[in-house]
């Protein structure tokens, strides 16, 4: 129920505490849900699903879907924005330090004349299909290449992602939508909890 416009603000922090509690609930709830939905209940898989990095991976896939990044030109645009972002932050050593990035890693994460065409081609052939290494590039600021690989392997075992080696030796990754749905539903439930208070 929306608050009346002229309603006085509470003196204490009750609303904020309720908001904080809901946010905490959301961060706890997501790993619980994906572990429950996981096709594998082996602890070595679940322990990776519970990592904070898995949350970031899920958020990334959710945002691709929610933002309508579907066609090859969409992912191409994202890659170009990503490249420009890297160029910009490399001019800002303080920012590089803050986000824990070094020049070598930043340069490796840029899409080049070699890797950009492959990114677009894979996506063109099947929307959402992306090389594991290109996925790691896009997620460069939030996780290492090795962490990305580890998450993808675990999420594949959990039944959220498909992994397939191509004839070119690359590892193609495609989401089947379960991760995005779980993440989106968690957000929706979180909104419900927050909206129902105060």
């Amino acid at each position: 129920m929306p608050k009346p416009k002229n309603a006085p603000e509470p003196v204490g922090w009750e609303n904020e505490l309720e908001l904080l509690e809901s946010l905490r609930w959301g961060r706890k709830e997501f790993p619980d849900r994906i572990c429950q939905a996981s096709r594998s209940q082996e602890e070595r898989v679940l322990s990776v699903l519970r990592l904070e990095a898995t949350y970031h991976l899920a958020e990334f896939f959710f945002l691709l879907r929610a933002r309508g990044i579907e066609a090859a030109e969409d992912i191409g645009r994202l890659a170009e924005l990503h490249n420009q972002y890297i160029v910009d932050i490399m001019k800002d050593p303080a920012k590089m330090e803050r986000i824990g990035l070094n020049s070598e890693r930043a340069l490796e994460a840029m899409f080049t004349a070699d890797t950009m065409p492959r990114l677009l081609q894979n996506w063109r052939e099947r929307s959402g299909a992306i090389d594991q290494s290109n996925l790691a590039r896009l997620l460069m600021v939030v996780m290492s290449t090795e962490t990305c690989r580890k998450l993808v392997v675990a999420c594949a075992e959990a039944g959220f992602l498909e992994r397939a080696r191509t004839p070119y030796g690359t590892m193609l990754v495609v989401s089947n939508g379960k991760l995005e749905t779980l993440f989106g539903q968690m957000l929706r439930d979180l909104r419900g909890r927050i909206g129902g208070r105060g």
Partner: protein
Amino acid sequence: MSRLLRAKELLVVAAAMVLADVAQADLVGVQASPPTFSREESQVIERNAALSKAVKGDPWIVRRLFDATSEQPIPSVQSVQPDDDKQAVPPVEELEPASNPDLPRLQRVSPEAVNDLFQLLKLAGAKQQEKK
């Protein structure tokens, strides 16, 4: 918090050294007697398999890492995966969270970086909507 950050960098570097077999790298002088570690340092070593392995192979490398990170941050060393996931280099050893309990917890990403990625995706989506 700074101790945790130092431990984080130490773990990343030590793990990378174990994985890349850099434990045989040249040392500055050869030490005859084994190094000593504080109780806190020993606890960090015990909790993390990568460090435990490194200290057994060459304890002075671990000592140098602790000393170096106490002075200044060590840039994080990422494992290098070939671009096409081809196994042209030896496979990277898995760092299991269960046996390296501090590693995942300490590998927290910067909130600024998370927000930057969110904004990039928002921008990419917004331009896509404009065209429709």
